[in-house]
């Protein structure tokens, strides 16, 4: 488990202890949450913030984590339903409004990220279900004038030992008057009926018939669609603009300047598009117009050759490195990456007399609501934020600066009408927030036997949290945890180790990108370790196994993936296998990739075997889906993903020059889940980090060419 999770867990537990009376009081706030949960329907049983039961017995779960494909709208209800003993066929899900009752315990604010949804709710949600169940049982027992202990709950009914039973729907009024039990008994894992089973997703029916509502689908009468002309260079400002031609486009209603550019508001998308095309803007490009990717990489390389701020030091790396008989040095670099969610960014705001309503697919409810309130001069509670489905998130929709919501707030402040601000695909690609560009220099020293004695890893790249609200939590002694995660906590037993960091400050907007620092550090560490293994003539799997002697969960997934992939068994000519293992967000993953490379240098991925140990889990099918997803996300980045700058301008614009994996390139993916009693870990992100190194290691096995720069370039693998 990394430090942030340790800290989060610790503060989570401290908070629960501090509120006295334990979790119930602290998390359920019965009186007030009743109001939240019951808001949209009358006369219901809503014993806490997370569920309500209707007279028809239908159960609605109010879920405080954003559904972006990772399955929280199914797995979190499963955690509640397990204890509630309701009829699963009748459950519904709503996204929670913004309220402290719905804060993510790891963040102290409402938001989804860091693969936290399952483990943060592993106690609170079952308790929410069990509390309600006990109140329903108490209500039935009171009606029957029997002892509650003679009753049990099952499938949406309370059943007395005599055999008589009542449905939850008939009990709601009485149950609402029952005292909230202070302490409830939770099931033991062997008693689970729902948790651990591959239940179908609750959101699938709406997602295949077109009725699932995403941010871009939200509509109000008289709503204007707004496109923003963003500056061509990050940090650029509007010097002057002419709106006449834009305003002449039929349907264009307003053209206004906002802090992030010029906004064109029109009756629909196409009119806004044409209006924006007709704008004439003179920009003050600012200081970042000088940025060019090749020069940046060179500058980073210089930095990497100088000592940085020390993130970890074990033993005496200097001395040990000086003394070892054999050494290996390598430099790696990976590019800026766009999230490129299939649904481009958007935000809809409808002003009201006494505030406003926001509809958006966000991962950061509290931050976004507060940002809009500040801009609009409202109190936070005057802003109602409605979370829609997210057409992909990958971290992009948790913007620390609330960029898409803030922009919409600035627009609505001027226009004072319902607006939907839309990023085109090109805006989404060019207007920022990227996984940082990284440059790494690694040195390894080993003895005559090939044992790893010293490891030196210098990392260069922008801090994603410096200057944001997360800085205080994540930057310690000049080290941004998210820059070194996955490198500082390298699992291998190496007696002399140094990890240091340079964090250059540049105007390119950077942000978390699915698996954050792990996305880059796992690639670098697991590739370089592979280099070390080969250089001492050892099998990369065996080499790792030995170094992981006291890391049973790493070793467990490594061995499982190797066994399932048939590690060491013969392959067709020209094929190669690569392996990688990594821990992130409390989960342990190993991948074995099998590839071939054609004479033109084109990589074909045939098969990826994944072993995952995420501790106790809710829905194995969700895990499998997230692992398949991680493979595609990781391969897309490793094979194609690259955002580059020329004179400060992003050179890519759409999926033709920022390609992602297509179905004809999809390898066979096999997922093997470790049965575990360990604490639950995350699942949305951990499937990504090991994909790129397993791939690159497989390319080496197939071709003898070591990939040290992503994306993989065919010209480097071409024969002859």
């Amino acid at each position: 488990m990394n430090d942030i999770m340790k800290v989060s867990r610790r503060s989570f537990l401290t908070t629960s202890a501090m509120v006295g009376g334990g979790l119930i009081l602290g998390f359920y706030l019965p009186g007030r949450d009743y109001a939240i949960a019951a808001k949209s329907s009358a006369a219901l049983f809503a014993p806490n913030a997370f569920l309500r039961v209707g007279h028809d017995g239908a159960v609605t779960f109010i879920i405080n984590h954003s559904e972006m494909g990772q399955g929280v709208c199914t797995s979190l209800p499963m955690l509640i339903a397990e204890e509630l003993e309701c009829d699963w066929r009748k459950v519904k899900v709503e996204e929670a409004p913004v309220d402290p009752a719905y804060n993510n315990p790891a963040f102290g604010a409402q938001g989804t990220g860091g693969s936290t949804s399952t483990w943060t709710e592993w106690e609170r949600f079952p308790k929410a279900g069990a509390t309600a169940r006990e109140m329903l049982i108490a209500a039935a027992a009171k009606g029957w004038k029997v002892d509650p202990s003679t009753c049990r709950a099952e499938n949406g009914r309370v059943i007395h030992k005599s055999g008589k039973s009542t449905g939850y729907g008939e009990l709601v009024d009485k149950a609402a008057k029952m005292p909230v039990p202070k302490d409830v008994q939770l099931k033991k894992p062997e008693q689970y009926k729902i948790v651990g089973k591959p239940l179908h997703r609750l959101d699938s029916p709406a997602k295949i018939n077109g009725t699932a509502e995403f941010g871009l689908d939200v509509r109000f009468p008289d709503m204007l669609t707004v496109l923003i002309a963003h500056p061509p260079v990050f940090g650029g400002k509007v010097k002057s603009f002419k709106a006449e031609r834009a305003k002449a486009v039929p349907g264009v209603k307003n053209v206004i300047q906002v802090p992030s550019g010029v906004a064109v508001a029109a009756t629909g998308f196409w009119a806004a598009w044409k209006g924006r095309e007709a704008l004439e803007i003179i920009w003050d490009e600012g200081e970042w117009a000088r940025l060019n990717t090749p020069e940046m990489v060179k500058e980073y390389a210089h930095m990497a050759a100088t000592p940085g701020t020390i993130a970890r030091k074990d033993g005496d790396p200097d001395k040990a490195y000086g003394l070892v008989p054999r050494k290996l040095t390598a430099e790696y670099n990976v590019p800026y990456l766009a999230h490129a969610t299939m649904e481009p960014l958007n935000c809809c705001i409808v002003p009201r007399k006494d505030g406003c309503d926001i509809w958006t697919g966000t991962q950061s409810q509290t931050g976004d609501r507060n940002a809009a309130a500040r801009i609009l001069g409202l109190k936070p509670e005057q802003v109602m934020l409605h979370t829609t489905f997210l057409g992909g998130g990958f971290g992009r929709r948790a913007n620390p600066a609330s960029d898409f919501v803030s922009t919409a707030a600035h627009v609505v402040k001027e226009i004072k009408k319902p607006v939907k601000v839309v990023w085109t695909r090109e805006d989404d690609m060019k207007a920022g927030y990227y996984r940082p560009l990284w440059y790494d220099r690694l040195m390894a020293g080993f003895n005559e036997k090939g044992d790893l004695i010293a490891w030196w890893h210098t990392i260069v790249g922008q801090s994603i949290t410096t200057g944001t609200a997360f800085e205080k939590m994540l930057v310690k002694n000049g080290i941004d945890e998210t820059s070194v995660e996955g490198a500082r906590d390298i699992p291998y037993a190496i007696p002399n180790l140094l990890v240091d960091l340079h964090s250059p400050r540049l105007g390119v907007p950077v942000q978390w990108w699915r698996s954050v620092g792990h996305s880059h550090n796992a690639f670098v560490v697991e590739s370089f370790l592979d280099e070390v293994a080969h250089s001492v003539g050892k099998d990369p799997f065996e080499f790792r196994r030995v170094l992981l002697a006291d890391k049973p969960r790493h070793r467990g997934v490594l061995e499982l993936a190797a066994a399932k992939a048939g590690w060491g068994s013969p392959l067709p000519a020209g094929h190669g296998r690569g392996i990688a293992v990594h821990e992130s967000y409390g989960s342990f993953i190993a991948h074995v990739a099998e590839v071939s490379v054609d004479p033109k240098g084109k990589v074909r991925v045939h098969r990826v075997v994944c072993a995952v140990d995420c501790g106790r889990f809710v829905n194995p099918d969700t895990i499998e889906a997230q692992m398949e997803s991680g493979v595609v996300f990781g391969l897309s980045a490793a094979l194609y993903g690259e955002i580059t700058l020329k004179n400060g301008r992003v050179e890519q614009s759409n999926y033709h020059d920022y390609p992602v994996l297509r179905i004809n390139e999809m390898p066979r993916v096999e997922v093997h889940i470790v049965t575990s009693k360990e604490e639950p870990g995350g699942i949305g992100e951990p499937g990504v980090p090991t994909v790129a190194p397993a791939l690159a290691n497989a390319v080496f096995a197939a071709t003898g060419v070591r990939v040290r720069s992503l994306p993989i370039r065919a010209e480097e693998l071409k024969k002859g």
Binding site: S204, T341, R425, F633, R662
Partner: protein, 153 residues
């Protein structure tokens, strides 16, 4: 005024004739199951059927769709592809899935028993960032099997 026939219903719309069909379907007809993803015809999120064939609605001017039989995801009901999408649990974020389904419906109409290669070639224009491709392949085979056994059940 432009006349469109969508999901068997006639609509009169008052829009600029060069407006992409995608935006007319979404904004005028309020059929928001058809999604915007790239605006360049390269991601497949906006796929609809025109005369039964999968087309990218972001690339078709509304004036060129006049009088043609247009089907959107809302007009595909009780189809084996939809059943297979549920039974094989394809969806994740869901944004691209209506487009994927429309392409799959079109494929099965042309090739009721497609091979993996047929699937890859028919579906490669539909991007999915969540990575549901493996399940899409499976679900298309499932749907083909349903059809093979006597149609939708």
């Amino acid at each position: 005024m432009i006349t469109l026939v969508v999901n068997g219903k006639k609509h009169l719309v008052d829009v600029a004739p060069d407006t992409p069909l995608l935006w007319v379907v979404r904004e005028e007809l309020h059929l928001t199951g058809t999604k915007y993803g790239c605006g360049e015809g390269i991601c497949g999120s906006c796929t609809v059927l025109i005369e039964g064939k999968a087309e990218r609605s972001c690339q078709i001017k509304v004036k060129d769709a006049q009088g043609k039989k247009i089907t959107t995801i809302e007009g595909v009901t009780n189809h084996p592809v939809k059943k297979a999408w549920l039974s094989d649990e394809v969806s994740q974020c869901g944004w691209c899935q209506p487009g994927q389904i429309m392409s799959a419906v079109s494929l099965l109409k042309e090739k009721p028993q497609p091979t993996d290669a047929d699937i890859d070639s028919a579906m490669e224009g539909n991007l999915c960032r969540c990575g549901t491709y493996q399940r899409i392949r499976t679900a298309i085979h499932t749907a083909a099997a349903m059809t093979g056994k006597g149609g939708a059940r």
